[in-house]
């Protein structure tokens, strides 16, 4: 019985998924009811995760207060994503409950990833997540772009999983363990420049490469724009939030717990990957005309900020990266959420020019996009500014002045394409029909306006992230 109590959020979701599949068989014409059940499932699971137990099972699965909060954030995020998705799929006449069951399996994958305390458990979580993402990306069967994206992600994802396994096996080979805490002890005791030392470095490099691929950071970013463009907007929303949060937590737990004594090795790698992502994300986005590709590059540059902050290896850096991750997820949810709400000529928004003249037809949605884009561009008083401010402060605190100058110049460059979207909405005039197919935009409004409100009162999130970091390191060290 105790075993049950420990895993309760994951168990609710797993059993719920099976029940949903059965319910869906009998309620084919009442998908709304099934969807209500799914929402209930998420709420229930969220409730138990925030009030969850704290323990670790056989050292390989961790249930800590920190992870409970993160799980709650993941569940909360998926609640919003599912809300957007349901409306979007309904509009496209493509509403299938399977979409949600697969998404929930992916969600369970992310929860396993962050709870993992051993390399194999981590691999299991990543695979569960990836498998459901392959299916979700290819969900739009009628679109050739979607199938292409699914195959591309499948092939590349399989390769990156292979690289991850190779890295894990190197670590296992040279440390003799797959449990994080054991690895930490062995690495601590390893002598500099011994054979084991180099072996472990190789292992870390391979794991980094694979995680950066899952993160979508440059130079492993090639898949991101294609997959974002090919899949449904709702899938893109999911892709740009849940896996990023989970991979970030994995980064935090792997690099700051078992690999911390090798920090001189991986900190430079992360700084390099972060800078490269920011530069590539900012510059390559300039010429994009497809809004999903543009947001994909924007995601790459945001991921760059997170990795950069992780690479600083200081308390401020960790806190900045967590803060940035939360802010980025909120912003990504809002920006993709708006796209799921708007259609142009009765198809979804594809090109940026599809949005032109939105301010005249739908001024309220125009204001929501304005807030979201300004937040992404890091213009105060939106929350995006504070996120960038904290990362840059952490950089300067650790005397990376040159890096911070490059980062802010890239911010200016990236401001150009966010401005281009605002320009399209506010200054261009309308040629064809644009419509908003949902009057119920309460959650979307709350989501977007929170970017402004949190920007004026940024200390709430700031306190939350410092509290979380306090929890993580109070337990781990």
């Amino acid at each position: 019985m105790i075993f049950n109590l420990l895993f309760i959020p994951e168990i609710i979701l797993s059993i719920g998924v099976m029940i949903i599949i059965v319910i869906d068989l009998f309620l084919q014409s009442h998908k709304g009811i099934t969807f209500k059940f799914i929402q209930l499932l998420l709420l229930l699971s969220g409730y138990y995760s925030i009030n969850g137990q704290v323990s670790s099972i056989y050292q390989s699965y961790e249930l800590s207060e920190f992870l409970n909060v993160i799980k709650f954030i993941l569940l909360f995020g998926s609640f919003i994503i599912f809300h957007y998705t349901y409306k979007h799929l309904k509009y496209l006449n493509n509403l299938k409950i399977e979409y949600f069951t697969i998404s929930i399996l992916g969600l369970i994958g992310t929860m396993i990833m962050i709870s993992a305390n051993s390399m194999l458990m981590l691999y299991l979580g990543i695979e569960l997540l990836s498998l459901s993402l392959y299916a979700l990306i290819g969900f739009n069967k009628n679109s050739s772009l979607s199938s292409e994206a699914a195959i591309k992600y499948y092939v590349l994802g399989a390769m990156s999983s292979g690289i991850l396994l190779f890295g894990i096996s190197l670590i296992y080979g040279f440390t003799g363990s797959i449990i994080y805490s054991d690895i930490a002890e062995v690495i601590n005791a390893t002598e500099m420049n011994s054979v084991e030392y180099f072996g472990i470095i190789f292992g870390i490099v391979f794991i980094t490469a694979s995680l950066c691929f899952k993160f979508g950071a440059a130079p492993f970013h090639m898949w991101v724009p294609d997959i974002y463009q090919g899949s449904l907007v709702s899938t893109t929303t999911l892709l740009s939030t849940l896996p990023k949060i989970a991979v970030f937590i994995v980064f935090l737990k792997l690099y700051y717990i078992p690999f911390i004594s090798m920090k001189s090795m991986w900190s430079d790698i992360l700084l390099f990957v972060g800078m490269l992502s920011i530069v590539i994300g900012s510059i390559f986005a300039l010429t994009q005309t497809n809004i999903k590709r543009l947001l994909a590059y924007s995601a790459i540059s945001n991921i760059g900020f997170i990795i950069l902050a992780l690479g600083i290896v200081s308390n401020e850096g960790i806190q900045a990266s967590l803060y940035y991750t939360i802010v980025y997820s909120l912003t990504a949810l809002a920006s993709f959420g708006i796209i799921t709400h708007i259609t142009c000529n009765s198809h979804g928004i594809e090109k940026i020019s599809d949005l032109s003249g939105l301010s005249q037809t739908h001024p309220y949605y125009a204001i929501l996009i304005l807030i979201t884009m300004l937040s992404s561009a890091g213009i105060p008083p939106m929350i995006g500014f504070h996120a960038k401010l904290i990362v840059i402060t952490a950089l300067i605190d650790s005397s990376y002045i040159i890096l911070s100058v490059i980062v802010v110049i890239m911010t200016v460059i990236s401001a150009y394409y966010y401005l281009k979207i605002i320009k399209t909405i506010y200054f261009d005039s309308r040629e064809d029909l644009i419509s908003v197919y949902s009057n119920d935009s309460l959650i979307l409004s709350l989501n977007s306006i929170s970017l402004l409100i949190l920007g004026i009162f940024p200390y709430y999130l700031f306190d939350l992230s410092s509290y979380l970091i306090g929890l993580l390191f109070a337990i781990s060290f």
Binding site: F385, T393, I396, V405, Y416, K420
Partner: protein
């Protein structure tokens, strides 16, 4: 005596009402006009009472509001005012009130949003002039871009898309470098309060880089030659009220920032570079005056004239560096001249942009060649515009004279050649101002242009009030002097003490 948070009210009343106007889309035009008028008038009254309650005999900060904002990063919601802030707050409130009067007789699409953005802009400007925490200052400083971007972009002219994006990126580029300087200073000082930065002992190299960052940031905003090119574009495309607020208040943010940050923080590096910065200012004054003379577009002409006049402001500020140590009196005179020039230019350029807006409304063209012989149709208007043009060229008795006179006096105190070159500009500004007047007001109406009509009552009121204040400041500048005197003297003294 003064217990309620007047500075916060000055900031948040216009911002909140402005947001309400922007979001409420179907508000009737009449209602939004009255609301804007009432709010701007209220803000004007508040800022007048602020001025009355400001103790001119004290040099320290007054009306302080200081609450912890982001405790993890040591950022405070720290508002206060000194003489320089008070004078600029008065200018902002006054100009915004005039804009509200002027705009209420105009027609715009979606007028409530238009007026709302102006109210937001007003509140943000108040915040910029009163923030004494550097991050708070930066947030207000940067947020200014958003409403102005939308005002020019939505209600602007043909080429507005290019102009807005150029303007936004230019100023953003300058300010992000400034942000790095601010964060760097804060890591040394352990706090973001601007006053704490004054106490730092920076090495010369550090000062040099920080000075350059500030120079780029504020130099683009003010704007200095050679980073002024965004200004004529933005002015030409902006609607009349947008040009007015841009020229009369937004440019002053750059000058204000230089006085607040550059002078006290980077004194040594400033002294080292002062000669070159003075050259830049002189180029702005002389070369840009010639450029202004060559313009064929009325708005561009006044825009370049603004750049030239802001050259006096930067000259006055940089002369302080030059004069520190050998002639403190001249330094004080230079700085006071710069501040008075800011206020006076705020009034005169606002008046001229209003005038051009009125002409444009009738002739639908801003080009000199399309506007002739206005005087036969609009005699009263022509008289007023001629007065403003004279004030623009620094006619004694108008406020334009006082600031330029003080800056030139201070320049003569440092170097006769700098003084001479600065004085030349009086000649140049007279030539382009009179050229504009001669062509537009008195030129022979060869193309037989019709359709000019005498000003409406609102326009007469706006221009008349501006005439009164320009004359008042020109004849008795004492009122303004009293407000800024102790602050400037104290500033110069503390800089000088900090050096020795």
């Amino acid at each position: 005596m003064f217990n309620f948070p007047i500075l916060s009210l000055l900031i948040w009343i216009p911002i909140l009402v402005g947001l309400f106007l922007v979001i409420s889309n179907n508000l009737s035009n009449k209602l939004s006009e009255y609301l804007t008028l009432i709010i701007t008038f209220l803000v004007l009254l508040l800022s007048l009472s602020l001025t009355n309650n400001y103790d001119q005999s004290l040099s320290q900060l007054q009306f302080i509001e200081r609450i912890e904002w982001i405790n993890g990063l040591n950022i405070f919601y720290y508002l206060a005012a000194d003489g320089i802030s008070v004078s600029l707050i008065l200018l902002t409130a006054f100009i915004n009130f005039l804009i509200a009067i002027y705009a209420s007789s105009e027609t715009y699409k979606n007028k409530s949003a238009y007026l709302g953005y102006f109210l937001i802009l007003e509140g943000l400007l108040m915040g910029t002039f009163t923030a004494f925490d550097s991050i708070l200052f930066y947030i207000f400083f940067e947020s200014l871009l958003i409403p102005l971007f939308l005002i020019i972009g939505i209600w602007g002219g043909k080429n507005r898309k290019y102009a807005t994006i150029k303007f936004f990126l230019y100023t953003l580029f300058g300010s992000v470098l400034m942000l790095i300087a601010i964060i760097y200073l804060s890591t040394l000082a352990g706090s973001f309060a601007i006053r704490d930065f004054y106490l730092l002992n920076l090495s010369f190299e550090e000062e040099l880089f920080i000075l350059l960052a500030f120079l780029i940031g504020f130099g683009i905003k003010i704007p200095m030659w050679p980073v002024h090119t965004w200004l004529p574009d933005a002015h030409v495309e902006a609607p009349t009220s947008g040009s007015v607020i841009l020229a009369s208040v937004l440019l002053k943010v750059g000058g204000y920032g230089m006085i607040r940050f550059m002078l006290p923080i980077t004194t040594e590096a400033g002294i080292f570079l002062s000669e070159y910065m003075i050259y830049l200012s002189l180029i702005a004054i002389i070369y840009i005056s010639f450029v202004a003379y060559a313009q064929t577009d009325m708005k561009k002409l006044i825009a370049y004239s603004s750049v030239a006049h802001m050259g006096f402001v930067t000259l006055g500020i940089f002369l302080v560096f030059h004069l520190l140590g050998n002639n403190l009196n001249a330094a004080v005179i230079g700085l006071e001249g710069a501040i008075i020039q800011m206020i006076s230019h705020g009034l005169i350029s606002a008046a001229l942009f209003f005038c051009i807006g009125i002409i444009y409304k009738h002739s639908k063209s801003r080009l000199l060649k399309d506007n002739y012989g206005v005087v036969t149709f609009m005699p009263l208007f022509s008289f007023l515009m001629l007065f403003f043009l004279m004030a623009n060229s620094g006619l004694p008795g108008t406020s334009g004279f006082v600031g330029e006179f003080l800056v030139i006096t201070s320049a003569l105190g440092s170097n006769i050649i700098i003084g001479f070159l600065a004085a030349i500009s009086l000649l140049l500004s007279a030539s382009y101002s009179l050229k504009l007047g001669k062509n537009v007001l008195f030129g022979e109406n060869t193309q037989n242009i019709q359709g000019y009509k005498e000003c409406t009552i609102n326009e007469k009121f706006v221009l008349g009030v501006l005439v009164i204040f320009i004359l008042y400041l020109g004849l008795t500048p004492d009122y303004l002097f009293k407000i800024i005197d102790h602050t400037t003297i104290n500033l110069i003294d503390s800089i000088n003490l900090g050096r020795t």
